[in-house]
């Protein structure tokens, strides 16, 4: 038995993120690079550490290799602890056979033994898909004050977008009156952020009951939470006020990255009191040459800029050669943009090569039909040949030969 912990976190990191297409071909969504040097999972992990939660179970299932490798022993997040720390929890073989995680609730159910080792009072269930900075400890205090069985973090979204989210209708004391899952005509704009705190003794029983129910899809949102609500458990909404973004689609990933360049957006990664930790690549400082032009951009270490970079995010070890232009784009580690090439409104994954005079993506203002427009994506390791072009909205995961479109 490990030392008792008041609260531990379970981080759901098994999602494929299929709407990110080729970006998640070989990696799980939480391992998708973000913001010049981070991966999505750095945010919930850093939030945990900064909130004083030092035991985190990371539930992986889809393409876990890169994620496991990235997390390692957790040292980068100060989660290499003698007691607790970060643990990768993959589905495992049991006497009655091997089971994949059937749903989010089942994933936690299968790790009841892990949680019990720390005999926690509370368990935070987090998703590894969102970009936000949040003090879970404040939420935990709120949970305790309310003597709640379950507290769900929510934030107010614009009414016009509300129908895309799981919504909550709350009473005056912020207890939850009703849930609405992606309704056509929303009656609330309070959306769930995928951050839950449960009183462990309660959740434990619900998980066991849920597993025994053959009709359940073993999902928190669909099964466990509604069941708790139907049984009249004390459930509260915790209002979060700050930046939060689901980076589930190419467009939202692109936007969330470029949000970092918008001074009006409330996401400050330079705050020394709430650092976002990550595994820092070993690379020298980045270099901007005498002929380069860099405007409104973020550039990580090891990069070399000889051309033009405008409103873009360059990850580590990216090279932008002389005469090359990168604008309104995200360029991931190790990619080379050769002279005369243009990358615009695009996401270029790791270690791609954009050969001379190639064109990736298109500006919306240059489009005849705006419906055809979208962010272009070049997969990792892909070479876009000399003079070739990649259409807007296209996703390329194989080499594009010289001159091809």
């Amino acid at each position: 038995m490990a030392r008792k912990m008041e609260c531990i976190a379970m981080l759901l990191a098994g999602g494929q993120g299929s709407r990110l297409g080729i970006l998640t071909k070989n990696i799980a969504k939480p391992a998708v690079p973000y913001g010049g040097k981070y991966r999505i999972i750095d945010f919930p992990l850093s939030n945990c550490v900064n909130s004083g939660i030092s035991t985190v179970g990371v539930l992986t299932q889809y393409q876990p290799l890169e994620l496991n490798d990235y997390i390692g022993n957790g040292q980068a997040w100060d989660l290499d602890r003698a007691n607790g720390g970060v643990h990768i929890l993959s589905p495992y073989q049991q006497i009655k056979g091997t089971e994949w995680y059937k749903g989010t609730a089942n994933a936690i159910y299968q790790n009841i033994n892990f949680i019990d080792r720390y005999s926690p009072e509370y368990v935070a269930v987090l998703s590894g898909d969102h970009i936000y900075k949040m003090d879970y400890n404040k939420m935990l205090e709120y949970h305790k004050e309310n003597n709640a069985a379950c507290t769900i973090a929510m934030l107010e979204v614009p009414w016009e977008e509300a129908s895309r989210f799981g919504l909550m209708i709350t009473n005056e004391d912020n207890s939850i009156a009703e849930f609405e899952e992606k309704p056509k005509n929303p009656r609330s704009n309070k959306a769930s952020m995928g951050v839950y705190i449960f009183t462990w003794s309660k959740l434990r029983q619900y998980l066991i009951d849920d597993e025994a129910d053959p009709d359940s899809s073993n999902d928190f949102g669909h099964d466990v939470i509604p069941k708790m609500h139907a049984n009249g458990e004390r459930m509260f909404a915790y209002l979060f006020d700050g930046y939060w973004k689901d980076v589930g689609t190419i467009d939202s990933l692109w936007e969330a990255n470029l949000d970092l360049l918008n001074p009006k957006v409330d996401l400050d990664l330079s705050d020394p009191t709430w650092k976002i930790y990550s595994r820092t690549p070993v690379a020298p400082p980045h270099y901007v040459s005498a002929d380069a032009t860099v405007q409104n951009s973020m550039i990580a270490e090891g990069s070399r800029v000889f051309g033009e970079v405008d409103f873009s995010i360059l990850f580590s070890n990216v090279t932008v050669e002389e005469g090359a232009v990168v604008r309104d784009s995200i360029v991931m580690p190790g990619t080379v943009v050769k002279s005369g090439a243009t990358v615009q409104y695009a996401i270029v994954a790791e270690n791609a090569v954009i050969e001379k005079d190639a064109v990736v993506g298109q500006r919306p203002e240059d489009m005849e039909d705006l419906n055809e427009w979208g962010v272009a994506v070049v997969g990792s390791g892909v070479t876009v040949g000399e003079g070739a072009s990649v259409a807007p909205k296209a996703m390329v995961d194989a080499d594009v030969r010289k001159g091809d479109k």
Partner: protein
């Protein structure tokens, strides 16, 4: 890997005096260099990249910042159960000379060296900045049947005392050794990276102690030029020895040449340093950056040219930083201007100030000073 058979010794305080401004509060080894490094990072990285697993860091004074930087040695993968990094603070009985005098320092750590099971010893000072393949050095040492191999560079001799200058025959064997001779010519001067067998070092040290020698370079190396096989091993590409604020400034500026940068930060032999978890640098709208090296955590809204910006430097709108080295966390407020300035950590330049030095005499602003 050959490194397993070598114990590395890094002298963190050697030549502190020549950079007195920067070493007022720190050791030579912890002097900031190239945007995100400390000088000791190069010596340590050279060693670990060749597989050396045991490194003793010799300290003399002012080593708080060094200890803070090194921690347990984790960034260099030297935080190990067996071997790893050993901080060797001075023993109260050991007096220690100045100007990189090694005999006094070595006296205090001979116990550490003798207890090591490795067969070879590699010395390195911190004021020489180079990226060198120590496996290649070891191969050369073996192939030549060398007793002592000294890494050298051909060029103008640094203005330091105790500099070994070698004349060599065609095979690289030293035939004549001078110690800090007066000369304006290009010479083969030692970068103070020295490889020899541990048993030989022990023998030479016994001799030195019994004869009351106190000068490693003159009494141990120079005196033995005909008795030992002493070989020179040339450091190619970017390699530099810092002997003054001028050369410190120049050595940083030389990295603005991508070729030098590529060589010092060879991808096959990366340079490791302490991680600070900064966000990547942000360039604001209207910023103008030319020919500069920029570290993570900088926020630039002004103009930067021919400069080296360390982590977390802030250059406000309308501020101009030219030909300068600006260290970690320094703040350059709007409409102020720096030219040929070396600003230490956490300096604040308030709005509208103009500071200007000259290429051969950069102005130095001390740590945390508000101007």
């Amino acid at each position: 890997m050959t490194g397993k058979n070598i114990v590395g010794i890094v002298f963190s305080n050697a030549y502190d005096e020549c950079l007195s401004e920067l070493t007022g509060l720190r050791t030579m080894g912890s002097v900031p260099f190239a945007c995100r490094y400390r000088l000791i990072d190069f010596a340590l990285s050279n060693m670990v990249n060749s597989g050396i697993e045991k490194v003793g860091v010799v300290t003399k004074s002012n080593y708080q910042s060094l200890m803070d930087h090194l921690g347990t040695g984790k960034p260099w993968d030297l935080s190990r159960k067996t071997e790893g990094m050993f901080l060797l603070p001075p023993f109260s009985t050991a007096s220690s000379g100045s100007n990189g005098d090694k005999i006094a320092s070595l006296k205090g750590i001979m116990g550490f060296i003798s207890r090591s099971t490795e067969e070879y010893v590699l010395f390195s000072d911190c004021n020489s900045v180079l990226n060198i393949d120590i496996e290649e050095l070891m191969d050369y040492h073996m192939e030549k049947g060398s007793d002592v191999t000294i890494v050298y560079k051909n060029g103008k001799m640094p203005a330091l005392s105790n500099v070994i200058v070698m004349e060599m025959n065609d095979s690289g064997k030293a035939t004549k050794i001078a110690v800090s001779p007066v000369t304006e010519d290009n010479v083969n001067y030692s970068l103070n990276v020295v490889l020899m067998k541990k048993s030989l070092l022990e023998r030479l040290m016994h001799e030195a102690i019994s004869l009351n020698y106190n000068d490693f370079e003159a009494d141990i190396i120079q005196r033995n030029v005909n008795k030992l096989n002493i070989y020179g091993f040339e450091a190619k590409g970017y390699a530099t020895t810092i002997d003054s604020m001028q050369t410190y400034f120049k050595a940083n500026m030389e990295l603005l040449n991508p070729e030098n940068c590529d060589h010092l930060f060879d991808k096959e032999r990366p340079v490791y340093t302490k991680v600070r978890d900064d966000m990547p640098a942000i360039y604001g709208l209207g910023s103008n950056v030319k020919n500069s090296l920029i570290a993570d955590g900088c926020i630039i809204d002004g103009e930067v040219e021919n400069s080296i910006l360390f982590r977390g430097v802030r250059v406000e709108k309308g501020a101009v930083v030219k030909n300068s080295i600006v260290m970690q966390g320094t703040y350059v407020a709007q409409d102020s201007s720096l030219s040929y300035v070396v600003a230490d950590k956490s300096v604040v330049i308030t709005p509208g100030k103009t500071l200007s030095g000259a290429e051969n005499y950069p102005i130095y602003i001390g740590k945390a000073i508000v101007i």
